[in-house]
Every structure is written in C-alpha cells, then in structure tokens.
Amino acid sequence: MNMFTLRAARRALAVAALLAVQPALSHAGTYTLTVDPVTIDTGDFKKTGIGYNGASPGPVLKFQEGEDVTINVTNNLKEETSIHWHGLILPFQMDGVPDISFPGIAPGETFTYRFPVVQSGTYWFHSHSGFQEPDGAYGAIVITPKKREPFKVDRDYVVQFTDKHPHSGARIMRNLKQAPDYYNREQQTVGDFFSDARKNGLSAALDDRMAWGSMRMMATDIEDVQGFTPLINGKGPDQNWTALFKPGERVRLRFINSSAMTYFDVRIPGLKMTVVAADGNLVQPVPVDEFRIGVAETYDVIVRPQEDKAYTLFAQSMGRTAFARGTLAPRPGMTAPVPDMGDSPLLTMADMGMDHGSMAGMDHSTMQKEDPAEMQGMNHGKTMNHGTMNHDDMKQGTMKQGGMDHSKMPSGGMNHGSMNHGDMKQDTLKQGGMDHGKMPSGGMNHGSMNHGSMQTQDPFYAAGSGLTPTPSEGQGKFLSYSDLKAQRPLYKDREATREIELRLTGNMERYIWSINGVKYEDADPIRLQYGERVRFKFVNETMMTHPMHLHGMWSILDVGAEKWDPVKHTISIAPGTTVYSETEVDATGQWAFHCHLSYHAAAGMFRKIIVEGGPDNTADITPLKGAIQ
C-alpha cells in the first residue's frame, strides 16, 4: 500500500467519524479518469493524441464547493503521465507536477488524488508531463458554489478552446529549435514591402525593415506555432459546436483557453457579453463586446440572446491565423454568418520596449526635461495640464508616452483645455492607460476636448503596441485587465512584504525562453516564506506575450483597484510591459510557476517555488519520490 492511500485511508476514517456526527455537513465524491491514446478529428485532419476516458477533451468534472474529492487516475499510456488541476487550491502533493509535487504516474499505474474543494467556478485540468497537454490531455472543471451566485442564469455551457496541431508536441518543439520560424507563415514578404513603400514611402519602408533586420527579429512574431485548427469542446470550425437557448434566456458561457500556444479574441456578433468571472473568481460584471483570453485563463460570461435566431461564437487567434467557431442557436442545425478574420497584426518597436525613438514629433512642454527612458510608468502626481499639447500633426505611432498612471492623483484638477484630438486616427493617441477612475475629488474638465475617434489605450499593452486589442466590429468595448475588479476579494488588501522582480527573457533565434536570463534547468528555486505577501514585478523583455501561471496560490493582479484587484491564477504579460501581481503566501510546499505557452515552459521559462514554514510544518517539502510503485 502506498503512502497516499495510507494517508487517504486515515483521512477517510476521520471523515467517516465526522459524517457519523454531522451527516449533512460534508459531501464526498469519487471520480475515475483513465488516460488513453485517442484519435482527434478536427474536421481538417485526424490525429492520434492523448485524452481522458477515451476522448479529447476529457469529461467536464463537476465538483461542489466543500466537497472532498477522490479521483482515481489510471495511466493507459506507454509513458509517464500526470494531471494538474489548473487553478485549484490544494495540498501541493496533489498538484500533479512531476518532480515538484509527486513522481508522476507510471504506465499502468493508478494514482489517487484526494483533496478538499475549497473554491468554486470554472477551471480545467491537464497533463503536466512532456507535451501531453498539446497532444490533447485536457478537460474542464466546473465547481458549484455554496453561496448564491451574484447573477441569474438559465443555461450553462463550457466553451473550451484548444489549438490542435497536425504535428505532435515533441515534433513542434524540435522544429522550433531547428528553425524558430518553422511555423510562421505570416512573415513579411517582398509584396508587403512594396505595399508599405507605396503607403509610407520607400525610405520609411526600408527603415522599418532595416530596424527589424538589425535586431534579427520579426514584426510578425506573434504566434510561434501556426497551422493548427482551433477547437471548441473538441469541435473544429466546420464541426460547429452548438449551444441551445430559448430567446430571452440568460446563458452562462464558461470560456477556458486550453490551447498550447494560442490567445483568442472572442466575440458573438449581435450579443453583448457580461464578464462575471475571471480564472474562476467572480468579478464585478463588465459588459463587453469582445475579450481576449490568454492561454490557460478562464472567463465566465453571461449572454442574453433575445431573438429567435442563431448567433456565431467567433474566436480568432491573436495573430489572425485561424479561428474557432461555434453557434448559439434556438434549435440544432441553425447557423449564422461567420465573420472574416481581421488582418494579422504586426509588432511595433513599442513591443520591443523601444518606443521612445520617435518622440520628436510631440511637444511635451514641461515634461521634456524628463529622461525619455524613465517615461514609462510616468506618474503625474498632483496635476496635469495638457493645455499646451498639440496633437494635430501626429501620425501613427509618433506619440508614445508609455504607461502614464494618473490613478494616484490625490487631488487637484486635470485640465485638458484646448486639446484637439480631432485629426487623430485610431491608435494615434497613445497615452498608456490613463486611468481616471480613482480621482477622489477635484474636477475633471474635459472642456472643449474633441475625442474624435479616440480609443482609450489599454494600459496592459505597451503604448503603441501592435497587439493592443481593438474591437473587431470597429466599435464597442474590448475587455481590458483594468476592467476586472473582484466581486468578493479573497484577501484583505495590505502592503506587500517584499517585491520579487521577474524579467521574462528569451532568445527567439535559439528558441530559448527564460526568467531573468536563466532557464529552469539552471535556476535555483524561488524561496518564499509562509505568511508573507509577495509582490511580483513581471518585466517582459521579449516580443512575445507570456501567460504566467503560479500553482497553488492566487495571483492578485494589480489593476490599480486596490482592495478590488482581481484574483487570478494566470497573468498575461504583453511585450514591452511591466505588470505587478501580489500573492498571499498561504500554501506550504513546492509549486510550479511558469509561462503557460507549452513550448516556452519546456524551453525554460519555468521556476520551482518553495514555500517554507507554515502551520503544517510536518509536511515534507521534498516530493514524495518513489511513493507509488
């Protein structure tokens, strides 16, 4: 008998004893998962892969908050496997990361996971071994809360995105190592050069290509891995996954991005979506027209289709190389028009963290004495006078103020005076995230300000970034991280006890990804003390977007909402930006912390975190190697 079953037996006895006294208090469920070789049919191609209970994606596991779950996982593969319960708060030995939380599950073995379910919401599970996750080893978790939810829904659907590729994960990794642009079929061509030259002039086009060429980086380097078919709950665009509704009903869609590498921009033309949860935790409801879901994130949205017609659920990849498509319909078989994908975006020098080169065209008046290098994250303190600012002659991308943070303006006014934004084109106003939300008092006089077609800049993208999301339908609201505010904060807001800087680093040409320039295999673990509140400072020095996932403990994303800062498990950091998250270190043990892009994690953007101390000091921090036979 192994250690886990022994411990579990003891716990089961204790639970049984409790049950005898208070039978109504506890709920325990037993679940069975087999890890199987499966065939995945995307509609575009068929591919052998890995699934659960004979299918990929695996089943939706439905738990209840407060339940003690027992999950028996049998490995029917010829290789070691593991299951990580993404976003669940549990004892570290149950977290399912080989070599960190447990030794893994050998072929033919059954491993029993046992843990109490202490949360509710939408989560997912996946293998943490090799490239089994990109090969299909994932499923969804839905946990019913104890308390009434702050909304009403009539129907509830899981919408799990994946990016199924005809190549196996191992092969993709090897190809990327051999030729990092192996899968990039959106590179700039001779034709693109001439069209740029016609549009911007020959010398501008040449300068642009020379600038990228001198860095040996590609403006098109947004999706490392292209050529996949996006799936919704295992169904390709032509297989058209369909959710049924009756007009007037409120439908909750639980979006999960279980892709290996792909971010999606999600919309349902004709329907407003109200975002009510992010990464399983409730957020104050935000009505949006579109949102971007990073790899490993989850969002719950509520839609209320009023008409007796079909609506297309359209999710195009951030690089616009492929789309997932499903349908919401009153009756099966109905379809609605499928929109065209937008043009592929291009990275800009702002995404390279080099956005200060073209500041000459802007008159900052009193700001000019500032060192341009320090202008990112500029804090305007008490007052800000835009009065003399002339934006008239601005061309695309000439004004790049970095992330101006107005949120802390304690008092005093903000006078936009005679600011004329009239001639500005979309994206030309790049003021970083002007957050006016928190001005506690004092007036804001927009005077004769003419906003024209001004779009508010998302502060979670570099000012001038080519990746800044804009509504695909031309207008409407695109969700930003800064819109996310916790509905029920899990922790009291307090000052962090210390800050840890994590520079996200890499070398695209060698396909090496690292943290602070060090790959996982060469890195020491990050040691945290139980009871501290750590502030992580993520500085993205690469041109890729990285969804950073901390296991075992929550990441409180700093959106400037203080006590309402949203609580997440995965934080996406766009190129050229600095993002902060705070973690209440409340879980002893050792945990994984990594970029959730499969091939970035495998290439080294990964850390082990060791939490020392804590009430359960008896917990052996070394993984239970050899505990199962």
């Binding site: 990361v97 070599d99 893994g104 191992a170 090897r174 079929r185 700039q188 060698r510 790959k519 295999e521």
Partner: protein, 241 residues
C-alpha cells in the same frame, strides 16, 4: 567509399545520441537534433556537364553544445566519379545571441589524395538576416585555407522563396596534389527559387549557379582539360527533418 561510411557513421552517432523529449518541467537539458540539406540538386553545366551536388548539415545537442556534421560534394554523372566530397564534424557552442563558434575536423576524400584538416569556424545570423558560416582549416600537410558561405532568403510569398547565395574559398598556400592553388581559388554564386511543398520538410527549387576558379587553381584545372568556370541550371530540393 570512405566518405560515405564516414558520413553515415557520423549521422548515426548524431541520431542515436538524440534522447526523446520528456517532462514539461525539464530539469535536465533538452536534447534536440535536426538534418537540413540546403542544396541537393542536379546541375546542367554550360559545357554539357551533368553533376549531382549536395550541401547539408545535421546536429544533435542542447542549447549549450551541439555536435554538428556538415557535408558537401559533387558527383560527375558523365564520368561517374566524385569530383569532391567533404565531411566535417564539429563541436559547436554559442558565444552570443546570434553567433556560435565551432571546432572540429574535416575530411576531404575523393579526387586526389584524401586530406584531414583541423577546423575552427563561426556560424550565425548577421544583421539583416544573412546566414553566415565560415571556417579556417589547417591540413595534415600544414596548408592553411578558409571558406565563407553566405545565404539570404527573400520571401516572395510565405511559401515561395528566392535564395541568393555565395561561397568562396581561399588558400594561404598551394596543395598541388589536390589541385589547390594559393590565394582566392574558387567562388560560387547561386540564385534559387524554392517552394515549400510539404511544411519545410520538402522544398523543391530551380535556379542558376555560377562557379569560377581563380589563379593557380584555375590553371591546374585547365591543365587537366577542364573549364575554369561553369554556368549551370539547377534543379533540386531543400530538405529539413
């Protein structure tokens, strides 16, 4: 044929050393491998020459160190003999973001007496995406020579690529037995139009190549009754595994 057995053995060593990829949380360095044939082509020369030409490399190793095989040669289909065949085996390590250095041995087999060389070189990506590979050699006879390969890929579309290339070799002393004169002894420029037919695994191409021998080397060739320059039309395929 010794060259063949040497390159087979080298490749075999490369691929058997390649371990499978395992955990996502990798505490041991990942080992990768790959094989690329930049040129594998038939050349029809302007004086009726029929040649089979190859130029490729393979590697196995980690981010920190790789074992690399490079091989190139020409086979004369009319005369049914190898004009040249070179195999080089190096240890290659990165020295900067875009540059590696390598050190190893080169073996020149047919066409005259075989020669062993010690080799050191650099390999990498110059600004503006120019692929550079250059080595310095010292033969077992003490002759010093060097070569330089440059290649650029101009994307006409994301599948159709125009590839200009240039190679040159210089000898710092002559090795008459192998027909090598001192100074700039040969240069080749090429222009190939390639189409990615199957991923990047198979990319057939057509193109032109112009080779020219210079100085003493050209004289040696003329003495043998051959042309010192050749313009050819080429058909072939790039391969990547």
């Amino acid at each position: 044929m010794r060259f063949a057995s040497i390159s087979c053995a080298a490749l075999g060593a490369l691929f058997t050393a390649a371990a499978p990829l395992t955990a996502l949380a990798q505490t041991e360095p990942l080992v990768f491998y790959g094989l690329q044939m930049e040129q594998l082509e038939y050349r029809a020369g302007d004086a009726g020459q029929d040649l089979l030409v190859w130029d490729g490399d393979a590697f196995v190793g980690t981010d920190e160190v790789r074992l690399r095989w490079e091989g190139n040669g020409e086979y004369d289909l009319n005369a049914d003999l190898f004009e040249s065949a070179t195999n080089q085996l190096s240890i290659q390590v990165p020295v900067s973001d875009f540059w590696d250095v390598k050190a190893g041995i080169r073996y020149d087999s047919p066409d005259g007496p075989d020669r062993w060389h010690g080799a050191v070189g650099i390999s990498g990506l110059a600004p503006q995406w120019i692929e550079v590979d250059s080595s310095l050699y010292v033969s077992e006879k003490g002759d010093v020579s060097a070569d330089l390969d440059l290649e650029y890929e101009l994307l006409l579309t994301n599948y159709l690529t125009l590839i200009p290339s240039a190679e040159m070799s210089v000898a710092f002393s002559s090795d008459r037995e192998r027909g090598v004169g001192s100074g700039l002894n040969s240069a080749e420029v090429g222009l190939r139009l390639s189409y990615d037919l199957w991923d990047r695994m198979l990319s057939p191409y057509v193109g032109v190549a112009y080779e020219r021998y210079f100085g003493e080397t050209a004289d040696f060739i003329r003495e043998e009754g051959d042309e010192a320059d050749m313009f050819s039309i080429v058909f072939g395929a790039r391969l990547m595994f």
